[in-house]
Symmetry: C2
Subunit: 270 residues, 2 copies
């Protein structure tokens, strides 16, 4: 779904850079600034520094004078607001709202495609043209660092998103708030895959573990730690420990090496 | 669960401030810095500025020389790592890992309390003393801004958390990464409630909506927009529109006022 981030009256150039970086990490690139404090904010040194490589998002960004000019092509407006209002859209946590939003979008698309397949239009009225359906798009609106969003801007929105925070300290930095919203929205859209930072592990099978344990039983007896006449629960305990550890074949190999060295040492001493 | 954030070799004072702020917004306060670049980082102006009121977290924070000194009382170590390693703990996305971690903690606690209730200990072994069970605690480790975590530090961890990001641009700012991890962990722990920023809406019942619609039918006829002889589907359409809008009693009142004014104007013109 088309996604736009709209920053209204942003004061700190660094936050514009942080916004671009946060958006890009989550795969979004449509940034619109409404009446920022600095007209040249997209080229300021602090902006570029904090964007840390998300220069394409900055180059793509538009600066406009009014909120109206920022909202072409988006149909669902999400305010981000902390301060209570006498009136306005319902408040929701991002995760719950995004889930609901995507479900209702899905239902709408299904209904549209059914109508397209069955154009007989039993209602007797002009049929809805699926191609004329507005491109659904969502915009996330962020107010200024010091004052947040104006009532006037909040009133236009479909929902006031509120990141659930510490009741005694709810104030996220603007860049941090954009990072959380962008992350949650990306997760809701299906997310990115996590790339394994380490090679995936294969697991040893139960026979390999049992073989290794019997090797250890022999080794622990040889070094005098296990008394075969009174074994207590030592081996079952080690079995449990190694079960929890989810050993790989390589680790079985290492542990067998240790057992072997114990036995050899014990034999050499005799 | 006891939660600690450990920042290793952090270079930028601003990021330490951002970390404190991000932690506090999610209700965490245990921050340990391992060998930061600046010995006085907790008192630097940039730190205090970016902490934006989370001074108690800074005042609480400890500076230590080695990772070892940072890990007392925590049993589960989460690395945060982007760069691939030849070897190390398994990689996981935060949301999935936290869910699993809390489930296994729950099972462990249930088992402990069952053992406490039933001290007969059929295994014939020394019983586990539930009070002696280590206080489970989790630490989130963050490496330096430029080089991330060393292999040596990653090897000690139980998991390498990876925030799912744009495959072409995965680099979150340190403060932003801490914000996302703190947010996800808080959500996993049950989250904070979202405070309504606007008063909750009551909904008009179907009888009120039907009464308003019949008022409008009369009004639209009076102004010549609706032809009672050929009403087409105008009223059902308006009915659908107002159903989607989920009207409140107050809005019914407003819409009835509009209908009344239409009728009065039409009558005055006659």
């Amino acid at each position: 779904m088309k996604t736009r981030f709209v920053l209204i009256n942003t004061s700190h150039a660094g936050n514009v850079g942080a916004a671009a970086r946060a958006m890009k990490t989550m795969g979004f690139d449509d940034l619109v600034l409404v009446a920022p404090r600095w007209a040249n904010v997209l080229r300021r040194e602090e902006t570029i520094q904090r964007a840390s490589g998300a220069l394409d998002v900055l180059n793509n960004a538009r600066i406009v004078a009014t909120l109206d000019e920022a909202l072409d092509g988006v149909s669902h407006l999400c305010a981000t607001a902390m301060t209570p209002r006498d009136f306005g859209p319902p408040t929701a946590a991002p995760r719950a709202h995004f889930e609901m939003l995507l479900k209702s979008e899905l239902l709408r698309h299904e209904a549209l495609s059914q109508e397209a397949q069955n154009p007989s239009n039993p209602s007797g009225d002009t049929p809805a043209d699926p191609c004329a359906a507005p491109q659904a798009g969502v915009a996330f609106l962020f107010g200024s660092e010091r004052f947040g969003m104006t009532n006037e801007d909040v009133y236009r929105c479909h929902v006031a998103l509120s990141i659930p925070t510490n009741p005694g300290f709810g104030s996220l930095n603007l860049g941090a708030a954009i990072q959380v919203i962008a992350y949650e929205w990306r997760q809701a859209l299906g997310g990115f895959a996590v790339q394994d930072a380490t090679p995936p592990r294969t697991l040893a099978d139960a026979a390999q573990v049992a073989g290794m344990l019997s090797h250890w039983e022999q080794a622990l007896t040889s070094i005098g730690f296990l008394d075969p006449a009174a074994p207590k629960k030592l081996m079952p305990r080690l079995n449990q420990l190694f079960n929890r550890a989810q050993l790989s074949p390589e680790e079985i190999h290492i542990l067998r090496g240790v057992a072997k060295a114990m036995i050899e040492t014990a034999q050499a001493k005799r």
